[in-house]
């Protein structure tokens, strides 16, 4: 099986980066095998890139259910374990339990959302592959994942588009 490579082309203008993306599409590289790295967010699709789908919205619901369950267990469990009437209120005071239930539900939703964000961003991934620190200085990086047999072709396309430097990892 041919080894997988990561090739990065560095460009100093967004135009050149977008041209490189067009070149890779024309050369038959599959959408999803090449990507654009930028130090600032651009409007979605600005480079003609593959727009990623995510399932982030499922995470808050799951977290909220967990939080709600824990809240009911805590409030009902503690009150039923030692039933002490305070202020004439019922042992299981729904209106008071509602507050703790609400807070823990939201906490669960927030924590699950953050976990979801990190997961859906495909993080943590400390191996950056082909990368250049100048990307966070305003340069545009176009990175291609390809097999050995298409490596030179990828380099050629990136060079044609005007890459300042090409790196391989």
């Amino acid at each position: 099986m041919a080894a997988s490579n990561s090739v990065l082309g560095l460009y100093d203008t967004p135009d050149a980066g977008a041209n490189a993306m067009d070149g890779l599409k024309s050369a038959g590289f599959e959408l999803g095998t090449f990507d654009v790295l930028t130090g600032t967010p651009y409007p979605e699709g600005a480079f003609g890139e593959y727009v990623p789908q995510h399932r982030l919205f499922r995470f808050p619901f799951f977290g909220a259910m967990v939080g709600l369950t824990l809240a009911i267990l805590f409030t009902a469990g503690t009150q039923l374990a030692y039933p002490v009437v305070t202020g004439g209120k019922p042992i299981l005071a729904v209106f008071a339990m509602l507050i703790i239930a609400y807070e823990l539900t939201m906490l669960g939703a927030v924590i699950a959302t953050v976990v979801g964000i990190i997961f859906e961003s495909r993080l943590p991934n400390l191996n950056l592959g082909a990368y250049d620190t100048r990307i966070t200085e305003g340069y545009i990086g176009i990175v291609v994942e390809c097999e050995d047999d298409r490596l030179e072709e990828a380099r050629g396309v990136l060079q044609t588009a005007g890459a300042l430097e090409i790196k391989t990892a």
């Binding site: 967004p14 135009d15 651009y42 699709g45 600005a46 003609g48 919205f57 004439g88 209106f95 008071a96």
Partner: protein, 472 residues
């Protein structure tokens, strides 16, 4: 690299200025269709029935408790029609572009506030004075109210004055916002519309100075309307509900009333937008983007409704003093318990579950469904509050001397005249708006044209985006 060098023009399929002028002000404006005429005649008939209901209410009247449904209907109308102009004001103050096409529909609600002010007069005959029993109990004894030591008929006087001021400011604001459109009707309309357009345009020709004055007047009337609406809600809710119930001390109630006013106003605007698309031919002007923005605000106010309700409730529930318990019993768990649960589901639970889904919010059908449900739910809520307040203490008890509600009143059910009133008065309000739209365009022509000027679709590298100018 500067962004401007990455932007190129893109095709613009929005209606041109010529097309929108023709549709909204000129030859393209269709006369009222048969369906609309029939609907307006129906509303007129219902309005007459409403007046019949008022007359018979006066004739068949066993006391203050029989006027609760009338008070609830007025409160509901104030909630919806009074709150709608806020949709025009608030986003405009925040310089939001999306509100431009819907501002006209929202501002038309102000027309009805004048009718509400007039309809309040019959109610005032039944509204007790502060010292109603002073002949029996002495001059010093008066029921609790926010008017403290003011003259006995202070609430009557001030409520009418405040409501009339609200109406005046609201109509002034709606008029000022429509002046450029009247000028367009003067220039492109025909017949009676052209004559009225000329009268109402009052020499507006779009000179820079006139535009500056227009902006300033819209700003001033808008800010005044907002302040008056808060003040109206404050006095109306306290005088016509809270002060009629001994022991009901609720500092949050005016704000609860106000937030449901905003919620209803947004719901009314959403329904107006839906109707404008469905029957008014406004599909190209108002779409899912406006529904989505309005829907977000309606979701927020729905959540705030629950927040304000719960904030009052938890204080009464936890405090458990005699008056706290009596208040909860009257409004929530006593004679109107089923009504309360209906309100809870219709105003909060169901709209919330409809509107939290992105796909539903971002559609042209989702928000109107939630809006209809909310308006019906708020109608029941006003019945819950005002009918219970007006029937809390019968006429023959010394309202001024009781400080806590000792006995719960029985559940009041509407009789046939109450039904006439509840159906007829809102029909009158809706009819008045539809009559005004015969002249005034449903969508604000000048705002749509201004939006076309400062926004445009463009291409940013390989993507399609919208460029929005920020003139302020």
């Amino acid at each position: 690299m500067a962004t401007s060098s990455l932007i190129t023009d893109a095709p613009d399929d929005r209606p041109s200025n010529i097309e929108s002028t023709a549709l909204l002000a000129g030859e393209g404006r269709t006369a009222a269709g048969t369906g609309l005429k029939r609907f307006m005649w129906l509303l007129a008939a219902l309005s007459v029935i409403g007046f019949v209901g008022i007359v018979f209410r006066f004739i068949n009247d066993d006391g203050r408790q029989d006027w609760g449904f009338y008070a609830a209907t007025l409160a509901w109308m104030l909630t919806i029609f009074g709150g709608a102009p806020m949709v025009a004001i608030a986003p405009a103050l925040a310089k939001a572009d999306w509100v431009r096409p819907v501002a006209r529909i929202a501002s038309l609600g102000a027309i009805v506030t004048a009718i509400i002010a007039l309809l309040m007069i019959p109610l005032l005959f039944k509204f007790p004075a502060l010292t109603e029993f002073s002949e029996v109990l002495g001059d010093d004894v008066r029921r609790r109210s926010i008017w403290f030591d003011s003259p006995s008929y202070a609430p009557h006087f001030w409520n009418v004055l405040i409501l009339l001021t609200l109406a005046l400011v609201g109509i002034a604001m709606a008029y000022v916002m429509a002046i450029p459109d009247f000028a367009a009707i003067r220039d492109h309309g025909t017949g009676w519309k052209q004559r009225w357009g000329k009268k109402l345009a009052r020499g507006f020709y779009g000179r820079p100075q006139q535009w500056e004055w227009l902006k300033m007047r819209i700003g001033i009337t808008g800010a005044l309307y907002f302040a008056m609406l808060l003040y109206t809600n404050f006095t109306f809710s306290l005088d016509f509900a809270v002060s009629l119930v001994p022991g009901w001390k609720d500092s949050l109630f005016p704000f609860y009333h106000t937030i449901s006013t905003f919620q209803a106003g947004i719901a009314f605007t959403i329904i107006g937008v839906w109707a404008a698309r469905r029957w008014g031919g406004m599909n190209k002007y108002v779409g899912h983007e406006e529904m989505w923005s309005l829907g977000k605000f309606m979701l927020a106010t729905t959540l705030l409704w629950f927040y304000f309700f719960y904030s009052s409730f938890i204080v009464f529930w936890y405090g458990r003093s005699e008056s706290d318990s009596a208040t909860i019993k009257l409004l929530v768990s006593g004679p109107y318990i089923y009504l309360f649960w209906a309100v809870f589901f219709l105003v909060f639970i169901i709209p919330w579950w409809i509107m939290i889904w992105n796909k539903v919010r971002d559609s042209v059908w989702g928000p109107p469904i939630a809006a209809f449900i909310i308006l019906f739910g708020l109608f029941l809520d006003r019945i819950r509050i005002y009918v219970s307040s007006w029937s809390a203490v019968p006429d023959d008890l010394e309202l001024a001397t009781t400080s806590i509600l000792q006995e719960m009143p029985d559940t009041m059910w509407p009789d046939v005249f109450d039904v006439f009133i509840m159906v007829g008065l809102p029909a009158l309000g809706l009819l008045s708006i539809l009559l005004v739209t015969r002249l005034v365009p449903l969508v604000s022509l000048w705002e749509v044209q201004q939006s076309r000027l400062i926004t445009k679709p463009v291409r940013f590298l390989r993507s399609h985006v919208k460029l929005v100018g920020k003139p302020d």
